[in-house]
Amino acid sequence: MPAKGVQVPHGTDIRIEGVRLALGDDPPMPVLGGVDLHVPAGTVAAIVGPSGCGKSTLLDVVAGLAAPDAGSISGADSVALMPQRDALMPWLTLRANIALGAELASAPRDDVGRRADEAIARLGLTGFADHYPHALSGGMRQRAALARTLLAARPAWLLDEPFGALDALTRTGMHDVLRDLMREVRPTVLLVTHDIAEAVALADRVLVAGPRPMAIVADIDAGDGADPAHAADAVMSALRTAGALA
């Protein structure tokens, strides 16, 4: 059942070719060492790699928040980025926070409230719309951040360890919420995580990133046809081969 009022355009690939980036001046530290990846429209790819390998920097580059030194990115103006922490404005109610997504998508002013209410209902936040974020649990805040991302009406989502700050139980619950939402809306998703189980559970493909400077060292099928345990093993051994396990 497609969510009413939530229209996300379809059909954007995320394509990154030969992206290199060094940060700092003295001397510049290479962070991205030639990243190639392609996420076909409507599919979900997870990037798994050691912490500090440059995954978040890669998402910043894809979202157009940082300019690469070399390489090409397509689809930068059609992505919505959701950071690890919920990043809700503490001074706005949950409803106003969610509405920001629609406002930034230049939704007509009188339509913003209606869209926000639909997203609130869709993500099970009815009854909490007038609360401020600090009064809500981590899971609820993360649902709100998802609702805001949804209302941004971008065909591609970049999720940067979206559930990294949640406890294990809440995280499992959020996996179901996100999976349902992705099945319904069919965005192109690039998900960054350091949780192998999460990557295998949510993604069609798992891309394994090596340590800095980052490059993709393996591309593992984790779609509906693949055996999750087998996929997890493959990810693990790719990480080990890349020297990403300390």
């Binding site: 959701m82 950071p83 922490r85 990043a87 001074w91 998508a105 401020y132 009064a135 805001r148 941004a152």
Partner: protein, 256 residues
């Protein structure tokens, strides 16, 4: 008044009550002349007797303090925005804002009186003495927005200008209010210093006139009233803060 409020208020009153008691004991023991140190009762009596005169002067001081505080808030916040937003302004203006506070502003009072009509001189002095905490708190506050908030909105397509208006400015408000509360206290000192040198009206002028005529109980009463004005302005800012920043009140977490 409920018992709970009374129980919260009592500890607040301990120090002033002790001070008044010590003051009274000093009067009994040392028996100074009233023009040297009047008793608390004499101060209260003089204050009540001269209530109309006190009110006449208090209105003036209160008016100058409120106008100066509004100017400090508006100009201070605007300067903070410019300094935080522009690297050029940060380099060109901010160091001099800080250096300006090294000058003992009280020493400027006679000069200001020389250059400006009395009302304007007092106003300028009160603004100069209260604007600094507003600027510093504002600049700090504008740099205090969590990077994740900026990244989250930029990552949804927000422009640089949008994040300033919708993220950095609201995030700066709690710190700005801290600066304003300090300004509310300093502004009264500024007004009094101005009145001491430049005016025949206002509680500052009254302390000068009454002390000069050895009406010491009245001087004391004026000082007490000045403290109350400072407290009142501080309280007004605190109330404004509560109204303007409802999210900083922490309600209990709803159970899910």
């Amino acid at each position: 008044m409920s018992r709970r409020r009374l129980r919260r208020l009592l500890p607040v009153l301990i120090l002033p009550l002790l001070a008044i008691a010590a003051w009274q004991v000093a009067i009994w023991v040392a028996a100074p002349r009233e023009w040297m140190l009047p008793s608390p009762a004499a101060v209260a009596g003089a204050g009540w007797e001269a209530r109309e005169r006190l009110w006449f002067h208090a209105q003036w001081t209160l008016m100058i303090s409120v106008i100066a505080l509004i100017i400090s808030a508006a100009v201070g916040a605007a300067l903070a925005y410019v300094i935080a937003r522009s690297r050029m302004a940060r380099l060109a203006i901010y160091p001099w804002v800080i250096v300006s506070q090294v000058i003992p502003l009280v020493a400027l009072a006679p000069l200001l009186v020389l250059w400006l009509p009395p009302f304007a001189a007092i106003l300028v002095l009160a603004v100069l003495m209260s604007i600094f905490p507003v600027i510093v708190a504002g600049v700090d506050g504008l740099g205090a927005a969590h990077p994740d908030l900026i990244r989250a909105t930029r990552g949804l397509g927000a422009s640089e200008g949008w994040t300033w208006m919708h993220v950095r400015v609201p995030a700066a408000l709690p710190r700005l209010f801290t600066g304003l509360r300090m300004a509310a206290v300093f502004v009264v000192s500024g007004a009094v210093v101005g009145e001491l040198v430049a005016s025949d009206r206002g509680l500052g002028a009254l302390t000068r006139l009454s002390a000069g005529q050895f009406e010491t109980p009245l001087t004391f009463a004026a000082v007490v009233l000045l403290a109350l004005i400072g407290l009142g302005l501080f309280g007004a800012i605190a109330v404004a803060e509560r109204l303007a920043l409802p999210w900083t009140r922490r309600p209990t977490r709803p159970r899910s």
